[in-house]
């Protein structure tokens, strides 16, 4: 058994399975209600693959109206609901339970309108992140948040988790780039929050909904900002002999008045694996590698890189190399964005997502190494250095229950460390089930109670993604 306990399924719901499926078929027809165990198995997990549960049923509605009918029916029947985009959550945000119906948004994948004059796009929530950029890149625009999983992950999931990405240092995360959503509440009511304008009236319900991990409703459409891309962009690689030098260099670049588009960090184990995968030309003999990207016109890029070079000199970089071609730039980013996948080829891993004040970087990296070593586990560090968002990958053997438990324990210790030094449990992956039981380390009982009361407002019976975010004990509704 894994460390995170899930509540026992509601046997009365399991006993009513046939009746519930009939009800769902009446709404959606047979084709989009997935019933057979083999097909349901495709939905048993997300990217936190250590946890697997086959749901009661899976439905694939094709419109907001169908989502509304499904939720109204399931709420009436008292059935739990887990919404699912592409199932790329690293925190178990889309993990089903035996007594839940998974509402998959895969069929809601249309781009509804692109408005270059007002610099917004309206999309169905099941559209993939990259497809928004693909739809507007011909005109030189892009959608800014770029999670590593952007080829697969959906806007629905991005909104649920308030996802970030490497380029958020300059352009912000999901909540800064979503202007409006259409959302279905648990009773089937359809609401519109925000719109195509830059701010919404009244209390910031949109701000509250983004990052609510599928616990307030199901978002079926979104209006997002699209931005004109800079004239050009160029990454440079900087290798250092110590994490302390790399960390100090990041601070000095920012203190010099430059906000690069991205500052990414890899340690030696990560460099080795990513280089083997992407052949990006990463230096293999350094302890810490920074990928720093700047953008603008050719003259601006040259100027910014010269400034960054001057700043970096003080920290004794072993390597400083600027990309010489589009192909080289693509390879540099391919290595970084494929890091999680590349790491997965050599070992199973748990991907942590803590955030720390950047000034504490060297000391935290040392402690992370010590924590993992203390459990006899190896760790590779890949993260967004500019904003202190750490992604230690704790390597373990998934076939060994004991190692999984050790890896989870080490992960919890790392996240507690992040909170201790003034950071937080999760920067962009969300709480899900993975960090659910760590929430009391970041929040007081009063703060957790307030958040749970907010959950009550949207979903009084706690049917939406219920086993996530909050510890199972101390809830107003029995999990």
């Amino acid at each position: 058994m894994s460390a995170v306990a899930m509540p026992p399924p509601d046997l009365t719901i399991l006993a009513r399975r046939s009746e519930i499926i009939v009800g769902l078929r009446e709404i959606l027809g047979g084709l989009h209600v997935i019933e057979s165990e083999d097909e349901r198995r495709a939905y048993e997990t997300d990217a936190l693959t250590a946890y697997r549960v086959i749901p009661l049923a899976v439905v694939l509605p094709g419109s907001t109206e169908e989502v509304a009918s499904v939720l109204k029916y399931l709420a009436g029947a008292g059935v739990k609901v887990v919404a699912r985009g592409a199932g790329t959550s690293l925190s178990g945000g889309a993990l089903p339970s035996q007594d839940c119906v998974v509402v998959g948004l895969a069929r809601l994948n249309r781009i509804l309108a692109i408005d270059y004059e007002n610099r917004v796009a309206r999309v169905e929530a099941g559209v993939t992140n990259i497809n928004i950029t693909n739809a507007v890149s011909g005109c030189g625009f892009f959608y800014a948040p770029d999670p590593s999983s952007q080829l697969a992950c959906t806007i629905a999931g991005n909104i649920a988790m308030n996802s970030g990405g490497a380029h958020c240092l300059k352009y912000g995360v999901t909540t800064n780039n979503v202007l409006g959503v259409r959302m279905v509440l648990i009773d089937g009511t359809v609401i519109d929050l925000g719109g195509a304008h830059l701010d919404a009236p009244g209390l910031d319900l949109l701000g509250l909904v983004v990052g609510s991990e599928g616990q307030f409703g199901i978002v079926t459409e979104a209006t997002v900002r699209i931005l004109r891309a800079a004239e050009g962009a160029r990454p440079m690689l900087m290798g250092f002999d110590s994490p302390a030098d790399a960390g100090a260099c990041v601070a000095a670049i920012i203190a010099s008045g430059i906000i690069p588009v991205a500052i990414e960090y890899m340690d030696r184990p990560a460099i080795k694996v990513c280089e083997a995968f992407a052949k990006a030309g990463y230096p293999l003999d350094v302890e810490a590698l920074l990928i720093v990207e700047v953008e603008g016109s050719e003259a601006e890029i040259v100027d910014l890189i010269a400034r960054i070079r001057r700043t970096a000199e003080a920290f004794h970089p072993r390597v400083m190399r600027v990309s010489r071609s589009e192909a080289e730039s693509a390879a540099i980013w391919k290595g970084r964005k494929a890091a999680f996948g590349a790491m997965g080829r050599i070992a199973d891993y748990l991907c942590m997502d803590g955030v720390i004040p950047t000034g504490r970087l060297p000391e935290v990296l040392t402690r992370v190494g010590e924590i993992c070593a203390g459990h006899g586990l190896a760790v590779a560090n890949i993260f967004h250095a500019g904003d202190g968002n750490l992604h230690p990958l704790i390597l373990f053997n998934a076939n060994d229950e004991d190692e999984l438990r050790k890896a989870e324990t080490a992960g919890a210790e790392i996240l507690k460390l992040c909170v201790e030094v003034g950071g937080c449990l999760t920067g962009e992956h969300g709480v899900g089930i993975e960090k659910r039981d760590l929430m009391p380390f970041q929040f007081s009982p009063a703060e957790l109670a307030l958040q749970m009361q907010i959950k009550n407002v949207f979903d009084p019976a706690w049917l939406l993604n219920p086993a996530k975010v909050f510890p199972l004990e101390g809830r107003p509704v029995v999990a």
């Binding site: 408005d115 270059y116 004059e117 007002n118 625009f141 308030n162 909540t175 800064n176 009511t189 609401i191 519109d192 195509a196 304008h197 830059l198 919404a200 009244g202 209390l203 910031d204 319900l205 701000g207 509250l208 983004v210 990052g211 609510s212 004109r228 004239e231 920012i254 008045g257 906000i259 016109s297 003259a299 601006e300 100027d303 400034r307 955030v355 004040p357 950047t358 000034g359 904003d387 202190g388 968002n389 003034g422 950071g423 937080c424 449990l425 999760t426 920067g427 992956h429 969300g430 709480v431 960090k435 929430m439 970041q442 929040f443 007081s444 703060e447 307030l450 958040q451 407002v457 949207f458």
Partner: protein, 392 residues
């Protein structure tokens, strides 16, 4: 007026008021007390004595301060490190004719964002942490001192702009930004509103990182002026001035305003100086898709004399005017309703703001959620009751 000396005292004041169900008006120095519906509160509690910067890490681009800290003090401290609040909080003293010292708490509580909102985000996007007293007197924190934080629900966003109706902010943490080395503004003269919107759309859709796009329509014989701001390193700004000028050549020749002229121009746009007098004229703040702004303005001007300033590339429209007992609410709300967006009656006599909704009326399910969330944060209904909506 109650002026608790620290957070525990503030919490005690709120807890006491909650126990007595005695409504409190929440204020900093009160320079923006004209914003919102008039309230019937016997007692005002002010955060003015909760002062001081509690954290400033220039290399981490983060600053925390107690809610009553004067905004000017923070801006001076940041400027000493060539940093700033990038979202440009507005000073309301001009349009309200109020006096006092604007506080950092109000910047968060009212989500005050100026011309750079189009590029740097709103105050709510730069607010990363806070401490606050909820209506039952409990001290809570939300967010923290790191930029990325998705643990739990985003109460930082939710409290930003809630105008003291959910909790009293006691401390706020903002992301700060480097001050650009220089700035410049291009100005095109004589564009009609629709042309100006098209020019601003072209500029904001260009790769030149425009950080301000505003249009002052023709007024009392003065031709319209459309402004485009660029900032950054010297050489970069020079390059982008040339590129943007070329890109906008179809709209007419553009004058170049140097750093000092540019900086003072954008302060007048930020604070809507051109529309502030006379103080008796109502002022509307309209948020729409940029392309829809001229339609709303045309509807207003067909009904009553109105002077106008477009900011955010046209997406933020300030309208000074509005006749009758509703200050033009029927006309403006109908025009905004036709295109999508919302309107706030930022300035009007108390009697008018008692008679018409100040903030855009919400659809019934949103009003229902709003009321329930208000009750969650403030069960006794004592914090700025009625300032945003009746019963909220």
């Amino acid at each position: 007026m109650l002026t608790p000396a620290d957070e525990p005292h503030l919490a005690a004041v709120v807890a006491d008021a909650a126990a007595r169900k005695a409504p409190l008006a929440i204020a900093g120095s009160g320079t923006r007390s004209g914003l919102g519906r008039p309230m019937q509160t016997a007692t005002t509690v002010s955060t003015l004595l909760l002062t001081g910067v509690t954290l400033y890490e220039p290399a981490e681009l983060v600053l925390s301060a107690r809610a009553g800290t004067p905004l000017r003090e923070i801006e001076t401290l940041l400027a000493g490190n060539r940093q700033r609040l990038a979202f440009e909080p507005m000073d309301h003293r001009g349009i309200y004719g109020s006096s006092g010292t604007p506080t950092i708490g109000a910047v968060a509580a009212a989500n005050l964002s100026g011309p750079r909102r189009i590029q740097a985000g709103a105050a709510r996007d730069n607010l990363i942490g806070l401490r606050a007293i909820t209506g039952d007197g409990k001290v809570i924190k939300a967010g923290g001192r790191v930029t990325k934080n998705v643990a739990g629900y985003d109460l930082v966003k939710f409290l930003a702009g809630s105008l003291g109706t959910l909790a009293v902010l006691s401390e706020v943490t903002f992301k700060v930004q480097p001050e650009p080395e220089t700035e410049a503004t291009l100005a095109i003269t004589g564009l009609a509103d629709k042309q100006a919107i098209a020019a601003m759309a072209a500029a904001l859709g260009s790769p030149y990182s425009v950080t301000g796009a505003a249009h002052a329509p023709a007024d009392e014989g003065e031709p319209g002026r459309t402004y485009f701001r660029l900032d950054g390193f010297e050489a970069s700004v020079a390059h982008r001035v040339d590129s943007l000028r070329a890109a906008l050549s179809d709209f007419g020749p553009a004058d170049l305003l140097g750093p000092a002229t540019s900086a003072s121009l954008w302060l007048t746009i930020l604070d809507v100086d051109g529309l502030s007098a006379p103080l008796g004229t109502p002022i509307w703040r309209v948020s729409v898709r940029p392309g829809d702004g001229p339609q709303v303005v045309a509807a207003a001007q067909a009904a009553f004399p109105a002077r106008v300033l477009y900011d955010w590339g046209g997406g933020l429209v300030w309208i000074a005017g509005g006749e009758g007992s509703d200050a033009g609410a029927a006309v403006i709300r109908a025009a905004v309703g036709a295109v999508g967006g919302h309107a706030t009656l930022v300035r009007a006599a108390d009697a008018v703001r008692n008679a018409v909704e100040v903030f855009e009326p919400l659809a019934p399910p949103l009003m229902d959620l709003t009321r329930k969330l208000k009750a969650t944060f403030d069960p006794a209904g004592i914090l700025n009751p009625g300032r945003m909506y009746a019963g909220v």
